[in-house]
Symmetry: D2
């Protein structure tokens, strides 16, 4: 079931569950898979930045991907394979594709500056992973400090047929979606799936600009699924109402550095993860911050009763 440009809906970015001693918690990983299936996710992405991929060994990464592929067999699983060298990227890609992954996600290294460097990097990446592996371009300037213009994305899409999806998380990024969809309409670029990241901070309007869904790790992916569904169904104000109810927490989770701690804490409170442990180096939540998240959860439960913790 290879990933195609028809992908849509919500591909949650799965956090990697750890025990306090740093080992991978496979039981929580299984619970995550079951949860994503239950809420109507249409795919899953593992080993992303906020899946703490750079802190995992090669074998650990493969095992996490394999376990998710087996457990969530009904869904396409995309695996982050970004690496400083192409040898490691190729090795990881081959193993996870052999294990049944639907495709891979590649972020640009933060040394790239010019348009040509970016296009050249993806060209070399495809040489490394093979011209038969569908891949997702991750466009996240806030973290990677690499700016991809719509034109650069069009060049990548045009030159590399296995580019099937954009993980869109530029900030601001609404115009970029409009421009890319315009390229498709004027025939200068084939259609690709655009799923939005950046914590979901603009998902409400991104859907209206032409996005196909979300590809992010907000601790209530069930809300993301509902907003995407409502938006596609044309129930605009309902989509915004639901989104706005979550925005205070979502905004809190979207803080650089500390955001993953918030996300894991909420998912622990929701009973999905056993602990909110991260591998070092990691930012932790202070007692004050935990109290703030608790407060946000309480207020959220009033505005979105389905988000109430049991």
């Amino acid at each position: 079931m290879p990933l195609t440009a028809d992908a849509r809906g919500v591909f949650p970015i799965a956090p990697t569950p750890f025990f306090e001693d740093g080992r991978v918690d496979t039981a929580s990983l299984d619970r995550l898979a079951d949860f994503y299936l239950a809420i109507g996710a249409t795919g899953i992405t593992v080993l992303g930045q906020l899946g703490e991929a750079p802190k995992l060994g090669h074998d650990e990464g493969v095992q996490i991907a394999r376990r998710m592929v087996v457990r969530a067999a009904a869904l396409p699983v995309v695996v982050g394979v970004s690496a400083p060298g192409f040898a490691a990227m190729r090795a990881l890609t081959q193993e996870v594709m052999a294990a049944g992954a639907a495709g891979v996600m590649i972020a640009p290294p933060n040394t790239l500056r010019t348009d040509d460097q970016i296009v050249g990097y993806y060209r070399q990446a495809v040489e490394a992973i093979g011209a038969d592996v569908p891949f997702v371009v991750q466009d996240y300037p806030l973290t990677f400090q690499v700016q991809m213009t719509p034109d650069v994305i069009r060049r990548i899409v045009t030159e590399l047929p296995t580019c099937v999806m954009l993980k869109h998380e530029d900030w601001p990024g609404l115009e970029k979606i409009s421009t890319l969809r315009g390229f498709e309409r004027d025939g200068s670029m084939r259609r690709i799936a655009i799923l939005c990241g950046n914590g979901g901070l603009f998902l409400d309007y991104e859907m209206e600009r032409g996005a196909d869904g979300a590809n992010t790790g907000y601790a209530f992916p069930d809300m993301l699924c509902d907003v995407v569904r409502l938006s596609i169904a044309g129930q605009r104000e309902q989509a915004h109402d639901l989104f706005d109810a979550h925005l205070p927490l979502l905004r809190y989770e979207q803080q650089p550095g500390v955001g993953l701690a918030v996300r894991k804490y909420v998912m622990t409170r929701r009973g999905i993860l056993a602990t909110d442990a991260q591998r070092k180096p990691a930012a932790a939540l202070s007692a004050a911050a935990r109290a703030e998240v608790d407060h946000l959860l309480e207020r959220l439960a009033h505005r979105d009763p389905r988000a109430a913790l049991r």
Copy 2:
């Protein structure tokens, strides 16, 4: 009426109103002053980054400051004097202080990296502006790429008695407020005013962490005044309710680059500015973006009727 460490409440960051041809629109500037007085602002900051200060000539800057000082005579006016060289900083400071400004605001140049460089820069800045001029430290890493730890701020406050306020806009920044207030409690730092910027994105919890108010340019500074008042009065949930009602628009305005265009557009729709013109180089709003802001304003009017446009 020099600025002191007792400052609190809301010091809006005033945008600089322009005509379409780039000239300064003094009638709109006067309306801004009157508006800030009417809503209960406790001070005003002019010539900040989002006041397009780097695009103003020296004389223009002085005239804007002078006009605001005269028109809003009841309020302390802080003037941004950041400049690549200390000669220009001193010249501007001397003129605006002579004209009746309450103090100046100084941002660090983006070349500073180490703690010592930052402290050293402010030491030299005080030599330049004079040891009798109250000043505000602007801590905005997202824009200036200068990271100030709480310890660096304590060193600046301790060494330089005329440092009376922190324009706090680190992101994430809640722990920084707690740490600084902790320094005050343990006696290792004298008290300074902490007013929060960063578009107000975390003002709700910043107040609870010990901030004294806001120092930002959100297009509804009346909401900022109300949230600060409610928070100080201990009406916690009411403060959050009001804040949350504005968060969808506030988040939209807080986009890098395009945010000022949103702000000026809203203030034009509110009838405060005559036009939303910016000096070049500037980012403009697309038709789609304007429609989104209009939509946000409509939705806001339902949740905060006082924010309804006339």
Copy 3:
């Protein structure tokens, strides 16, 4: 005498001479002009980064440019007009062109990231300064953190007829010169002058790649003139011998931050500047560093007797 794409030879970047109290030292400025004329410079650039332009007021900048134009009447004078806003850039350009400058130099602001942003910036700059003013593109990624590919430079040159010169100081940058000259040969770009900066660190091979000369501020511009002449005359090994004799000092001067202090110190020892004062903020030379420069000068005098101090 407008600047044209036929410019070649050496346009020294003039330091701005100051007295210890920070005032501009016009007598030293005159000596600089006379010195540049005497050594065979073919042009002069004032108000560059290392001319401490950002620390000068508008009127000071105009006066410096005007004085240089008058004193060095036989040479084209290029004036750096980089500014955060286009209003200031236009005002400075109009005054210095009226005073007889040959053209202006424009560096990109460090916020530009994508190819389109860079081209768009120069398009707007030309709107600001006027389509009749010859200009130099400054390509200095080490300082400005803006990466211009050869393709971007070609787009600028093609779209903007008044772009007549590239101040080339990318590092590494040799291939860029070859590529640009290749564009000229294959007819895809009109010829422009390429003069090299970056302290002259690669001038030896830059000339062989097709550069037209130097546009930098090394404290022995007489050597730059000689190397350019020897290289153009095909006296390859003599050019390298002379260049290599200076390389130990040149490398020492090419240190970020402290380089201007070295340059001014040497020019003071050479009797060209009255003092090595800089405006604040500025890096100073330690006693140890001064002794090292003295040592480098002694060793240089043995290898290039014409570089011996009187």
Copy 4:
């Protein structure tokens, strides 16, 4: 033979030899070891940045370190263990120390900004690798964009007894050496070894400022050994004469990005490496660049006959 603060002389940074197909070339690795022993190196560093460490798998890295430890048994071998996560850093450290390495080298991740973050990072790193493993702090702001003040280094040295060496490659960096040696003299910091990197570009004066030697990968490490020896022996002018003879090539090799290609090409021409292959992504030398290096080698042979290629 654990690394101690008494280390001095030259620890070349070993490139990792590859075949054209990307496999590690162990025969060339052995030749490198023999070569370093023959020229009088006092130690060897493997798996540095310019050893292409980020492109190696864990097992490959261990095997390279182990082979070097065995082959160059008379010399202490330092192993670069920088990694995005501490788990990988610990795993690599344990294996290479068990294999007989003398210590490890740790570079700061480029996300660190403040003094406290840097000190905190090394504190956590020591927790990860164990308090019994000697380590080298790599201070290379040009590549890592992390600025360590002398005070930060003093804090690391004071707090962490297993910090025994600084790989000094700040630029400019001469004053930093003087300041650190001053800390030792005034008793505020224990003595550590300071070996200089940055391609050796300032080794001549770094030795005079108090450095203990070099820790860099210039293609003629024999020259580095000689310069260090001459400098320690007080033969100042001879040290400079030899250094200056190599400076034109050394400067050419010290170009960001393309420098490793120059280094491997020269070492291939010297018969030490079988090929100049790098793993992708990598910058390659153009034909023009190879001709320039050939020219530099010819000129060098005239000034330092011992550098003549056979």
